[in-house]
């Protein structure tokens, strides 16, 4: 220990100098260990004596988070490292600190030392990327990979004093990449393998030489034996492995399940001699993994890389390897299964051919025994007798059967390869010409031209087979050629004979052409002469031509024709032997083809005219047609047709009583025929009986589902056929009888259907009543319809009448509470209908209503109406003015009508409920304050088209404290929907609140400018705002207003043209600056004026200028100015609507200051009885001023007074906060008075009729006024009274007026 002391350094040399002390404090574990290390005992000595650069390097390393190592001293190479480096050292830590390099890194020193030496000597740094160092880790060598650099540490004297080594371990990435590469290699290797062995060997080969898998072995199950045997293994190991998995695993204590992975800890113990085989690469451990599924399940044994830990990554890798092989095994299994299936199919095919051969043989014997005696019988019978005709039919069809059997037999022989051609050298041209000539008579009958152009062509053929070939092709040509020609040409060139048979028939579609000649394939064609056929003809041709060493080729175009070209090798030796075919005219091919073209005898078409029922028979086989006629004609008249199309045409002409049809027919098959019959209203009811050779439940059900009334599989007995046709005919007759009796019912049904249509279009209770009233029913004395609708709370019933009833009754019974003693209430309560033949005989309980209505109702039926949930929702009353009895039919239709009505009513109520929710929402936002007595106000809101109900338009009325003043506003926030509605309601509230403190337009608009700037979506809203002041005497009314970007208010004065108030215009709120921002205007109002505020939706129409809209509104408003404001609003809304309705939402507000003018009067009073005389006196004064006829003054005063009293007591419940308004107009000599309240009139009008007073009130109103109209809405009730000739004419203007 030295006594050398530097200032600021600890006195004890064992303590660290300040720079290192600071570094170790930041150095974590290694900092602590460095500080605690006894450096005084170390060759490097105490740190206080270390050079500055050394200390700096140490400080750098200790404080870094990157793995770093220092080798100090270029010969001894002492280690200093940081915390990040500890995992690299693993169990060498912490001893490695201060240790010499060769001891710390003894296991890899051989690799490391040369690099260090080179740095020390040359000063050049090394760079190692992903270098593998087999470090001892946890007692074993492990493959570990590092990316690092060695660089020199240079002191102040220029010499190297150590080596700096930042290092990064990359083992995980390197190993993952290597294993992924192997998995890819395996996947690629197994891709094209088809067998299990190939797949296993390819996978094993891909693993060869890979360090991660020193060896692999695949044990795979055998689907047949269940043994799990070795299929592939690494070549070095394969000889050491047992053949079966069972043997391999007996030595190991492992579970016998194949589902789980198993770790083999001692590979040498499991596999003898493996250590010698693999030497240093020999793994200690192996993994046994499940492989494959089902019967082929086995195991994959994978040796573990001895330099790798068996960690999760390694296990995962091995599992992926096993999975890959498993999927390869699975696809190999399915490939093998497909191979087997193909073999099995081929086998099946052989079996079928063998079967066909046997069956054909078996057929031949009985056929021969049928044909022989048949020929004899035919010879013995009298020619042209009925018997001989029948026998001829039998022979023809037995011959046909024989031909089919022969074809089948030939065919199956060819298939089985047992057919041998007895070829002789013949002139195929002459032979073909001979054979073809047998069709000439037949072609003539069918209207076909048969052209034979046969040049000599010598070839070796079996004449019998050739005959079959030509007959088959020709009969096919005849079958599918309806018009034109069939041409047969033969010629030969040097090598080949060409035989071409060409027709102008229907041709074959391209897709079908490719399959032609396939066994049993039949091109789908309904356009031939017959659809009979087995589908072996052309494939037989092909087989037979093959036997002649020839080729056959089909060329065809749909609609143009077909050409069959047969080429035979030309005979090179010998002379042609003359060969003439015999008996060709009796050949079954020709006979059969003759059936298709047989012209029908006349009697097949013309049914004998008698009164028997007519049966139409459709079948394309002439024999079958004849047979059916023989069977059916003794019982019914018959008409015969050969195909479906003809059947349909004939049916339309002769209207058969029943149709018997085959299924398979040319042109239109049986199913298509039935569909056409069912689609023709005149034929639809005709019973159809279907015949088909296709038997089996499936075919029968197909027949019925196709629309057949009955289905008879062939063969059938004659009796069965007759029975079935008879059954069909009699049931059809029954149905006809039923139809006649149901005609009357149909008329009733039609009436109901018409009523139903009328009801369906009804959208209100009133419309239902009207629709019911309009229906024409049997009863001559149509009842008055009275529809009662129960409100949603079940407290009151509202009545709608279909026919005008006296207004008194309508007014008294428009609404009734559920405790009123009237019939509909009880019907609704009990849910039971009431039938009253005479109201006067009803119990005293109904005395009052009976007396009240005795003029109108003396008998009635009242039905409860129920909703879909069974709840009673109303009643349907049918009222007659005279007593009457009801017959059961009438009661029945009453009940039916009630049923129809209730479903419609229920639907309407549901719609109304939904509508009300939306309207309530808007109404909530836009309540109209009618509290002001300064003016009469009305407003309407109309939602725009399809848009959401809520919108951005508002109206507002604010009664002001100052007597005679009221503020009004209409505004429009940009946009629709909830967001606009919210912005709208906030602006509206702001207008209302500001108006209450300072109502002047300047103040309100200024506040709104400021406020709108803070409300989302409120900028640029347009507003018109006005304050109406009726003045102290009501005669000097004026309006001060400001109109912020909004359409101008319209002023309609009694004697002047309507004007738009445009002087007070200014920009929209919270919008651009403008000198007009404070603009306010004032306008005097003549008594009787109306001001209209509205939103742009009212006047705007697409394609129009705004001025056009303004003009339209001006005209409409002038025309209707002398109406009460409520009516004015409603009318303007209707008149201004664009065709197709408003697309934007619309707000309209009308205000009429209270006044007494030359032709009008308006007053608003609080709903208090104290007010009635006040308003009466004002009205009386006004009446005098307009020159009322004194004789009618009392009428006007009394009726109006009664209406006001009603409005106060019933409409407003005498609530003085509510108001009642009165607007009276003089038009010519007439006076009309409209009394409005905001009440719902939810009170009980029919109950109050029991109160005599109100009854008298209504009697007075109706008795004194010439016309009374009551309009009720959710906004309130309006009663309009009209008094004709109430004003005295100015003298001399009207004739006949006496003093």
């Amino acid at each position: 220990v030295s006594d050398l002391h530097r200032p600021g350094w600890p006195p004890d040399a064992r303590d660290l100098p300040p720079d290192l002390a600071a570094a170790v404090a930041l150095g974590g574990e290694m900092g602590r260990r460095f500080a605690e290390f006894d450096w005084t005992a170390h060759p490097l000595g105490p740190p206080q004596f270390w050079a500055t650069e050394v200390r700096a390097a140490i400080a750098l390393v200790l404080t870094s988070r990157f793995p770093m190592l220092l080798w100090l001293d270029t010969t001894e190479l002492f280690l200093v490292y940081n915390d990040a480096y500890v995992p690299i050292l693993d169990d060498r830590h912490p001893e490695a600190l201060g240790q010499r390099g060769q001891y710390a890194w003894w296991d890899v020193w051989k690799s490391v030392e040369p690099m260090i030496a080179s740095v020390v000597t040359t000063g050049e740094a090394t760079w190692s990327y992903d270098l593998m160092l087999p470090l001892m880790t946890a007692g074993r060598r492990r493959e570990r990979f590092f990316t690092f650099t060695y660089s020199p540490l240079i002191g102040d004297d220029g010499t190297t004093f150590g080596i700096f080594c930042p290092s990064f371990e990359t083992s995980e990435r390197v190993l993952s990449e290597r294993r992924l590469g192997l998995l890819n290699a395996v996947a690629t290797a197994v891709l094209d393998t088809n067998t299990i062995d190939d797949a296993a060997n390819a996978a094993v080969a891909a693993c060869e030489g890979q360090p991660d898998v020193p060896f692999v072995a695949a044990y795979i199950g055998d689907a047949a034996t269940g043994d799990v045997t070795l299929h592939a293994a690494t070549p070095l190991v394969r000889p050491l492995l047992p053949r079966t998995l069972a043997t391999l695993t007996t030595s190991q204590a492992m579970r016998r399940t194949r589902a789980t992975m198993h770790v083999v800890d001692d590979v040498s113990a499991m596999i003898d001699g493996i250590h010698d085989a693999l030497a240093d690469d020999c793994p200690e451990q192996a993994l046994l993994l499940p492989l494959g599924e089902g019967k082929v399940a086995g195991a994959l044994l994978v040796g573990i890389n001895p330099l790798c830990a068996l960690d999760d990554q390694f296990v995962g890798f091995c599992q992926l390897l096993a999975d890959q092989l498993s999927s390869a095994v699975a696809s190999a299994v399915s490939y093998e299964q497909q191979l087997q299936r193909a073999d099995a199919l081929a086998e099946l095919d052989h079996a079928k051919t063998a079967f066909l051969t046997n069956v054909s043989h078996e057929f031949r014997t009985p056929l021969t025994l049928v044909l022989g005696p048949l020929e004899d019988a035919l010879t013995d019978s009298t020619p042209d007798s009925a018997l001989s005709n029948q026998l001829a039919t039998v022979r023809r069809n037995a011959g046909r059967l024989q031909r089919l059997v022969d074809s089948l037999l030939d065919f199956s022989r060819i298939e089985a390869g047992r057919a041998n051609a007895n070829s002789i050298c013949v002139d195929v041209g002459a032979l073909t010409s001979n054979i073809a000539a047998s069709f000439s008579e037949l072609c003539g009958r069918a209207g076909l031209e048969l052209v034979l152009d046969c040049h000599p062509a010598v070839a070796d053929v079996d004449p019998g087979m050739w005959e079959t070939i030509v007959l088959n092709v020709l009969s096919n040509a005849v079958k599918y050629t309806l018009a034109g020609s069939i041409t047969v040409t033969t010629h030969s060139d040097k090598a080949l004979c060409h035989i071409i048979i060409r027709d102008t028939g229907v041709g074959i579609a391209k897709a079908d052409l490719e399959r032609l000649g396939e066994r049993f394939f039949r091109a789908d064609s309904a356009h031939g002469r017959s659809v009979e056929g087995t589908g072996i003809g052309l494939s037989l041709v092909r087989g037979l031509v093959d036997l002649q060493r020839g080729t056959v080729e089909f060329a065809s175009e749909l609609g143009r024709g077909t050409a069959v070209t047969i080429r035979l090798p030309r005979s090179t030796h010998g002379r042609p032997v003359a060969h003439a075919p015999a008996g060709l005219l009796d050949n079954p091919y020709v006979v059969d083809a003759g059936q298709w073209v047989m012209s029908r005898p006349v009697d097949e078409v013309e049914p004998a005219a008698d009164d028997r029922q007519l049966v139409l028979i459709a079948d394309d086989n002439a024999d079958m047609r004849a047979h059916l006629r023989r069977v059916l004609s003794p019982h019914w008249r018959t008409v015969l047709v050969a195909d479906g199309l003809e059947a349909l045409e004939t049916a339309r002409k002769v209207r058969p009583d029943a149709v018997v049809t085959d299924v398979m027919m040319p042109r239109l098959d049986g199913f298509e025929l039935i569909a056409a019959i069912r689609a023709d209203p005149k034929l639809a009811a005709t019973p159809v009986l279907m015949l088909s050779a296709r038997a089996g439940a499936e075919a029968i059900s197909e027949g019925y589902s196709g629309g057949a009334d009955d289905y008879l599989p062939k063969p059938f007995s004659s009796k069965d056929l007759i029975d079935r046709v008879a059954a069909r005919l009699s049931s059809a007759a029954r149905e006809r009888a039923n139809r006649r009796s149901s005609d009357a019912l149909a008329r009733v049904a039609l009436d109901f259907a018409q009523l139903d249509a009328a009801l369906q279009s009804a959208d209100t209770g009133a419309a239902i009543a009207e629709a019911l009233q309009g229906c024409s029913f049997a009863a001559a004395d149509a009842p008055v319809i009275c529809l009662g609708v129960l409100d949603s709370e079940g407290k009151t019933i509202r009545f709608e009448y279909g026919d005008p009833v006296p207004p008194e009754i309508r007014d008294r019974y428009h609404i009734a509470s559920m405790d009123t003693p009237i019939v509909p209430v009880d019907v609704i309560k009990t849910g039971q209908p009431m039938i009253i033949t005479d109201t006067l005989s009803l119990s005293p309980r109904y005395g009052h209503v009976v007396n009240e209505t005795v003029e109108v109702v003396r008998s009635c039926i009242s039905q409860p109406l129920r909703g879909v949930d069974g709840r009673v929702i109303g009643s349907l009353g049918m009222l007659w003015p005279t007593p009457r009895d009801f017959d059961p039919a009438e009661l029945d239709w009453a009940a039916r009508i009630a049923k129809m009505t209730q479903s419609v009513l229920d639907g309407i109520l549901n719609v109304q409920r939904e509508h009300r929710i939306a309207v309530d929402f808007q109404d909530h936002l836009l309540d109209l304050d009618r509290g002001s007595t300064a003016a009469v106000v009305a407003a309407v809101y109309q939602p725009g088209g399809e848009a959401m109900r809520v919108g951005g338009d508002w109206y507002l009325v604010v009664p002001l404290e100052e007597t005679g003043q009221v503020a009004i506003s209409v505004g429009d926030v940009v946009g629709h929907g909830l967001a606009a509605a919210i912005a709208m309601s906030r602006l509206r509230a702001a207008v209302a609140a500001t108006a209450l403190t300072d109502a002047s337009p300047a103040s309100v608009l200024a506040t709104l400018d400021r406020y709108a700037a803070t409300v989302p979506g409120a900028r640029c809203a347009t507003v018109s705002y006005a304050v109406i002041d009726t003045g102290p005497d009501g005669r000097s009314a004026r309006v001060s207003y400001s109109c912020a970007g909004h359409p101008y208010p319209l002023l309609v004065s009694p004697d002047d043209p309507a004007v738009f108030l445009s002087d007070g215009r200014r920009p929209p709120v919270a919008a651009w600056e403008s000198p007009l921002k404070q603009n306010i205007a004032v306008q005097e109002l003549a008594p009787g004026s109306v001001i209209l505020l509205y939103s742009d939706g009212l006047i705007e129409r697409p394609g129009e200028t705004l001025d056009q809209g303004f003009l339209r509104l001006q005209g409409a408003a002038e025309y209707r100015a002398d109406r009460p404001v409520g009516e004015l609003c409603a009318e303007l809304l209707e008149r201004m609507a664009p065709p197709g309705g408003y697309t934007d939402d619309v707000v309209l507000l009308a205000i009429r200051p209270c006044h007494s003018a030359a032709r009008s009067f308006a007053a608003v009073v609080p709903a208090s009885l104290d007010q009635i005389s006040e308003v009466r006196h004002r009205l009386r004064d006004w009446l005098s001023s307009v020159g009322v006829d004194p004789k009618r003054e009392c009428d006007v005063l009394l009726a109006t007074g009664e209406a006001v009293t009603n409005a106060i007591e019933h409409g407003s419940g005498a609530d003085a906060r509510k108001t009642v308004s009165i607007e009276v107009f003089v038009r010519g000599q007439a006076i009309t008075a409209t009394i409005s309240d905001a009440g719902q009139w939810s009170g009980d009008s029919s109950a109050s009729q029991r109160s005599l007073r109100r009854g008298r009130g209504l009697t007075m109103i109706n008795g004194l006024a010439d016309d009374v109209r009551t309009t009720r809405s959710t906004d309130g009730t309006q009663v309009t009274l009209a008094f004709e000739k109430a004003v005295l004419p100015e003298s001399g203007l009207v004739e006949g007026v006496t003093a």
């Binding site: 009885l1169 104290d1170 007010q1171 009635i1172 005389s1173 006040e1174 009466r1176 006196h1177 009392c1194 009428d1195 005063l1197 009394l1198 007074g1201 009664e1202 009293t1205 007591e1209 005599l1252 007073r1253 109100r1254 008298r1256 009130g1257 009697t1259 007075m1260 008795g1263 004194l1264």
Partner: protein, 111 residues
């Protein structure tokens, strides 16, 4: 605010002939019908009395109801001259009226 006002003119003095004839003027409506009813019933003397309504300026259905109850109690006979303001309405309401007081008296005396 001017409420409806009516006046009852009851003859005073000892020589008043029975039945007593009370003349009503002014207006009767729903706002003062109670006072009217009370005032009529407060008139002393025999019943029925004669209610002279020819000069009344206004009588609404509330008033008619009040009269109806009085008639039912046989408390009044009503006189309305054919040229009076309310005559047409009373006819419309089918109210039993007499053209003049004498006719009303005769009716009372005849029972």
């Amino acid at each position: 605010m001017s409420r409806a006002v009516f006046q009852l003119h009851v003859p005073e003095g000892d020589d008043v002939s029975t039945p007593i004839e009370v003349t009503v003027t002014g207006e009767v409506d729903a706002s003062n019908v109670r006072e009217f009813t009370r005032a009529v019933s407060d008139v002393p003397g025999e019943r029925p009395l004669i209610l002279q309504l020819s000069s009344i300026k206004y009588l609404d259905s509330a008033g008619f109801s009040a009269l109806d109850r009085m008639l039912a109690e046989d408390a009044i006979r009503i006189v309305l001259s054919p040229d009076s303001f309310m005559y047409r309405v009373a006819t419309l309401m089918c109210m039993p009226i007499h053209d003049d007081a004498d006719a009303a008296r005769r009716a009372i005396n005849e029972g």
